[in-house]
């Protein structure tokens, strides 16, 4: 009997814990969404309403008719896709090399790649600023693409190497006998087999690039080239008070692409996230 009572109490505790943690994770997103549908007068009412009394799309109309916001979103896509492309190319080549052509040089590269995870970007960004200034790359989207790639290549390389390691070498041997060149073998046979790995590093890189704030706020000087995070911070965050209707609405626009990716690809994202740690 005692054991039965304990079990019920345990289950009740589990339910309560689930509800509290679930609310902690999800309520803020709900609150962001609800605020974006409220009229200004209602946003500044206290105590607040959990459900808007007057539901409005006016905030969205205002955001979407604002050219600079559309430009931020477009820039964010350009930078995120550019970074993803560059990172996927560089890290699949490097990962393949680490997997199939092990050497002392490769070992050094691998260790250095792992160590980059520790360096704080803020710590090196001032030197990076000087480098880009000397290269005349300040205020270009390319400066963002290349610096974000430098940040995402290490993890992507290590990750994709693991996927290549799982592919049998007999495929390459067979291709070689058939007279297929090494680069062609890689492109035509190996790459298509590593689609899940490529997807994992692509998603990882895209998310990292979408999240960028520091590079954009430091290297980009004009509004037309600004990306989303930096743009929101510059445009909507006043010195004294924030325009919360606009801030919450533009935030929803900024999280939406990520949420869609999560719903579509969560399995691959999780595979990418956990691959390194669970194996190692």
């Amino acid at each position: 009997m005692k054991r039965e009572a304990q079990k019920i109490a345990g289950n009740a505790a589990a339910v309560i814990a689930s509800i509290i943690l679930g609310l902690f994770l999800l309520f803020p997103i709900y609150w962001l969404l609800v605020t974006s549908f409220k009229v200004n007068m209602e946003i500044y009412r206290f105590p607040p309403d959990l459900i808007p009394r007057t539901f409005t799309l006016e905030n969205y109309r205002e955001i979407f008719s604002d050219n600079s916001v559309m430009q931020y979103i477009l820039n964010n896509f350009i930078v995120a896709f550019g970074t993803t492309l560059l990172t996927m190319t560089a890290s699949s080549l490097a990962g393949y090399s680490l997997s199939r052509y092990p050497s002392i040089f490769g070992k050094i590269v691998r260790t250095s790649l792992l160590s980059t995870q520790m360096f704080p970007i803020v710590g090196l960004i001032l030197a990076l600023y000087v480098i880009f200034r000397n290269m005349n790359l300040i205020n270009t989207r390319f400066s963002l693409i290349i610096s974000l790639s430098a940040v995402t290549i290490p993890f992507s390389t290590i990750l994709i190497k693991g996927f290549f390691d799982d592919i049998t070498r007999t495929l390459e041997e067979a291709a070689q006998i058939d007279g297929c060149s090494r680069l062609r073998t890689f492109a035509v046979i190996i790459l298509p087999l590593s689609k899940p790995g490529l997807l994992a590093i692509g998603l990882y890189t895209f998310m990292q690039a979408w999240d960028d704030f520091l590079f954009a706020v430091t290297f980009i000087l004009t509004d037309v080239k600004r990306t989303l995070s930096a743009g929101i911070a510059m445009k909507f965050l006043g010195e004294v008070s924030y325009d919360w209707a606009m801030v919450t609405t533009v935030s929803i626009a900024g999280v939406l692409p990520m949420f869609i990716l999560i719903f579509l690809f969560q399995k691959h994202m999780v595979a990418g996230l956990t691959a390194g740690a669970v194996k190692g």
Binding site: A90, F213, I232, F259, T274, G276
Partner: protein, 296 residues
Amino acid sequence: MARTIKISSSVFGSLLMLPAAGIVGGFIFLPVIQSVYYSFFTFKLTRKKLPLIWNNFDNYRQVWETGRLQNAFSITFQFMLMVVAAVFILGLILALLLNRGRTNERLTRSLGLLPWGTPTVITALLWSWMFQGEYGFINFLLLRLGLIAKPISYLVNPSTALAAVAVAAVWRQLPFMFIMLLAGMQGIPGEMYEAAYIDGANRLQTFVHITLPFLRNVIRASILVTIITNFKQFPLFWTMTGGGPMNKTETLAILTYKNAFVNLDFGVGAAVAAAWMVVLVIFSLVYSRMVREAEY
């Protein structure tokens, strides 16, 4: 006859490495070395021509004697410890709950991952809104529950600002931790639990003697990632508090950035960054040594 140029395997392997090594070397390692180098010189961004002037550790002395560096170290460590502890404990609870597996896993996982997909700056804005002093939801909630008597401006109040930023950090990082732990738990063979059940082990014993030892690698890796993430945290502080109030949230990241890009004094910024990177490297080494020894 078409002649292809034969290159040896090792040369081919190195060639494949070049793009990645070039980008990471040129835009991570080079700037790291340069940052350390700049930290010994007077180097102001305000001047166009830059003759670097050796200044006899003046940059280091400046941040040390004003106490800013020590303050930043202390704040960074406090923040890091708070967030890592909270993320780990809550993540473990969440993973255990979900591992009981009665829910629609795909949906709960997707929903649970949403904070992780929220860009950091938006996370900062979202929680600034939640913590807002006059109309914020947190004030509403705590007043309702009777936990506070009057509204608090959490991000402006020196005694609550750091904790408020920590809440935002926990919110965004919790999904990563629980997904990692959950994946680890699902890798534990079911027979282990059956055997424990037959032997009459209770839930706590099962957890301590089966779950935790099996999760050792996952726990080590995900805690290290969380430590490093929070040691480096910049956008949350920059957007939520900017290092204020009264330097109570001035972390190493904020101190570096302020010196370099607000005061335009790269030398001093680089000094903070160099001190910070040295500590971060030592800390990571000590941590991995510690957990490795704990294993044997």
